[in-house]
């Protein structure tokens, strides 16, 4: 495997959710969410009822991947911030470390300047949280017997049941 799978624990999830909520309030955003670089939605806060966050997450990751490809062609490591401006809504996308993407959707109740400023601060907080998660995952994989992985006991029967 190229990389170990990502694991999210209850405690860190609470911290992430709290920071996302804080950012959401500070910038008066419509939605703030975090996506894994591979397109998996990690957490979201705000007006998500009428929003297809799963698809949005996948397209965000595709967008970052495509832009990253362009960056490398130009000799850049990556473009760490993307901004898309619409008639009503705008979307601000930024990389956290090399692994996670922070997305802020906002309208005229906020401004690009404010979003950029607050996102910069949040990125620092998220970087610390994800560093902690990585360390925890490494530590847990070192003591396999004590971790309660839900997969260790999976049987063929369990898998058959999925397809009913």
């Amino acid at each position: 495997m190229a990389e170990a799978g990502m694991v999210m624990y209850e405690e860190e999830f609470k911290h992430i959710d709290a920071e996302l909520s804080k950012l959401h309030q500070q910038v008066n955003a419509k939605v703030t969410f975090l996506v894994d670089k591979n397109g998996q939605l990690i957490a979201s806060v705000g007006e998500t009822q009428n929003l297809d966050t799963t698809s949005l997450a996948s397209l965000t990751a595709g967008n970052i991947a495509a832009t990253g490809g362009m960056a490398r062609l130009l000799g850049e490591r990556e473009f760490s911030i993307l901004f898309h401006e619409g008639e009503r809504d705008n979307i601000h996308i930024s990389m956290i470390g090399q692994r996670v993407i922070l997305v802020v959707v906002f309208d005229q109740r906020s401004s690009l300047g404010l979003v950029r400023l607050r996102v910069k601060k949040s990125v620092e907080v998220f970087t610390q949280i994800f560093d902690r998660i990585l360390k925890k995952v490494e530590k847990e994989s070192g003591k396999k017997i004590e971790t309660k992985s839900p997969f260790a006991e999976i049987t063929e029967e369990d898998i058959e049941k999925l397809f009913g």
Partner: protein, 195 residues
């Protein structure tokens, strides 16, 4: 790369459908989309050209149910099959958990199949994966057409690893769910192995 969320009690896995242009990757996803209940699927996203050729990827999120109290979700992706979209294909393989190779069974597409399989091996290696060990299955599609390569022969050329394979007619759904089930099974067993 699977994503295990202990907080939401969810497991997300990524499956990529690979193969030459016009082999039926998008058709596989469309059939799955058509035949699954609304509560178990999300919206299908197709980034395609005006002539319905895949430009970047198709994406279909699928919820299959629960295993040991964890919701199991598969994110199905297709790659653009046309040769000149190689940069996009590489990006989509990032973090993949399992690959389905869809081959076009017609005699005249054999060269394209072989080229695509070689391209898959190369691109997987670039992303740090190994085609000889990653969860993998092959579907020989378009078996209803008159000019198809005999099964034994096509399997010999395209399946040196001897993974489980299926005959398909994706437009009618034949072999589509068998293929999906096989790759899902392999991906979950891989998670078990690494648990």
């Amino acid at each position: 790369m699977s994503f295990i969320n202990y907080s939401a009690r969810e497991i997300n896995c990524k499956i990529v459908y690979y193969g030459p242009g016009l082999c039926g990757k998008t058709t596989n996803l469309l059939y799955i989309y058509k035949k699954t209940t609304p509560d178990s699927k999300g919206k299908m996203i197709s980034l395609a050209t005006e002539t319905e050729r895949t430009l970047f990827f198709d994406f279909l999120p699928l919820s299959l149910g629960t295993i040991r109290g964890f919701k199991v979700r598969f994110h199905l992706y297709t790659v653009p099959g046309q040769v000149f979209y190689d940069a996009s294909r590489k990006l989509i393989l990032r973090g993949v958990d399992g690959v389905v190779f869809v081959a076009d069974s017609q005699v005249e597409r054999m060269e394209a199949n072989i080229e695509s399989a070689e391209n898959l091996r190369k691109n997987l290696t670039e992303q740090g994966f190994n085609l000889d060990t990653i969860p993998y299955t092959v579907q020989y599609n378009k078996r209803d057409l008159p000019n198809v390569v005999p099964l034994e022969e096509i399997n010999k050329s395209l399946n040196p690893r001897s993974v489980p394979y299926f005959e398909g007619v994706a437009t009618q759904g034949k072999g589509v769910f068998d293929t999906l089930k096989e790759i899902a099974k392999q991906v979950i067993l891989e998670l078990k192995k690494n648990a």
